[in-house]
């Protein structure tokens, strides 16, 4: 009997430890619930951002109109020096000429369309340029404390009335705030997406970087929805004849067919 009781106590303690370990793991990686019918129905009450959108800066038939260049970011003295050093290298172009995707925030400024998809707990933004995908989690999860740096960063979103507010952190050092303007690992980008008409959407983008920027840098872009468009494939390496060499010289590979 004593032997049995000791055995039962050991089993009990082992089970307790396993449970504690499981709870602790769950706290670190909460597994989202599968979406229920109500979660899909709830999407219909959100502003309809779905569909294919493009900035009407280029286009045919006078729809396009010139837009004023965005204001330049105000840099801190240390980053103004970095920018001057990069400017002095006098590179003709960026690595985008070699097909490197531009990352955030530039990926949202291309003359190509974006498709917005709303699913329970998530907004997905597909950029036709460079075939990029942004995953914006709207299920209430917090931003991770220290995500691995990536080109498009790590994003969460929330609905503030009719506005989707997206916060993004964790950017690769290969991306820039704007040309020749590096960011620090403290860069944070807040985007506010809201409908301004049946088929127009405003995106206000604020870049916050206490090390690189003297003050937050805000720009606004308006997109027009094209219900009849679909996103096309864009393989930049398919036939990229543009290049930027290691010395910063841009050129074109003009190899005639059959030669």
């Amino acid at each position: 009997m004593i032997h049995d009781r000791a055995m039962r106590r050991t089993i009990f303690i082992v089970l307790l430890l396993i449970t504690a370990a499981a709870i602790s793991t769950a706290a670190q990686h909460s597994i989202p619930k599968p979406p229920a019918a109500a979660d899909w129905a709830a999407l219909a009450r959100l502003p309809d951002l779905t569909g294919v959108w493009e900035a009407p800066t280029v286009g045919r038939g006078g729809r396009g109109r010139a837009v004023a260049p965005p204001p330049e970011p105000q840099l801190t003295p240390a980053y103004a020096v970095k920018k001057r050093e990069l400017d002095a290298r006098n590179s003709d172009d960026t690595e985008a000429a070699n097909c490197l995707p531009t990352g955030m925030p530039a990926i949202m400024g291309h003359p190509y369309p974006y498709e917005f998809l709303l699913t329970p707990g998530k907004v997905t933004i597909v950029s036709e340029a460079y075939m990029q995908v942004r995953h914006v989690y709207t299920d209430g999860r917090p931003l991770p404390a220290d995500p691995d740096p990536t080109f498009n960063g790590t994003s969460v979103g929330r609905w503030d009335g009719g506005t989707l507010v997206v916060e993004t952190i964790g950017f690769s050092p290969l991306t820039t705030i704007t040309r020749n303007t590096p960011h620090s690992d403290k860069m944070r980008i807040v985007e506010r997406f809201h409908l301004t008409g049946p088929d127009t959407m405003s995106i206000e983008t604020t870049v916050i970087d206490p090390e690189a920027l003297a003050r937050p840098w805000t720009t606004t872009r308006t997109l027009a929805r094209h219900r009849d468009w679909t996103i096309r494939e864009y393989i930049c390496e398919e036939n990229n004849r543009n290049f930027l060499d290691a010395q910063g010289k841009a050129g074109v590979k003009l190899t005639a067919p059959g030669k």
Binding site: T57, V58, G59, R60, G61, G62, G64, A66, P69, D92, D93, T94, A96, A97, C99, T102, A106, I107, G109, H110, P111, Y112, E128, A129, T178, R179, H226, W229, R232, E233, Y234, I235, C236, E238, N239, N240, R241, N242, L244, K249, A250, G251, V252, L254, A256, P257, K259
Partner: protein, 132 residues
């Protein structure tokens, strides 16, 4: 609309398009370091090949030079994605078609440039802003 007014409007539109594209900070590549954006040249030839590819279409033309020899010229256009939404198809230009191309010449003086407009023998005009 009278033809002259239409031509003027088209010229303005194309100018606006080229300017607009160049002004965008995040196009695939900067045009000015490679092409002379202040120059405009014209060449007539026969379409040899069209690369309906990303990130740019390429139009290859066979052109007779001053001494009567055939030369191959290459022209970078917009992307098929951009053009397909604005009236072009991958068969808008086919091998064997005779075409007069207006372009921004390559700065290195090689035979080619940035495609602006192409006038077909039937009078149809294809522009970097769309097909008309």
């Amino acid at each position: 609309m009278r033809p002259i007014a239409r031509a003027a409007r088209r010229t303005l539109l194309v100018a606006a398009m080229i300017g607009g594209v160049a002004a965008l900070a995040w196009s695939h590549h900067a045009a000015a370091p490679v092409f002379d954006m202040s120059a405009e040249k014209t060449v007539t030839g026969v379409v040899k090949q069209v690369d309906w590819t990303n990130p740019h279409i390429w139009i290859w033309l066979e052109v007779q030079n001053a001494s009567g020899q055939a030369e191959t010229w290459g022209f970078e256009g917009m992307s098929p994605n951009f053009l397909a939404r604005r009236g072009w198809t991958r068969t808008s230009l086919m091998p064997g078609m005779r075409i007069t191309v207006t372009f921004r010449p390559l700065r290195d003086g090689k035979s080619g440039g940035m495609f602006m407009t192409g006038k077909l023998e039937d009078g149809k005009v294809l522009t970097s802003a769309g097909a008309e």
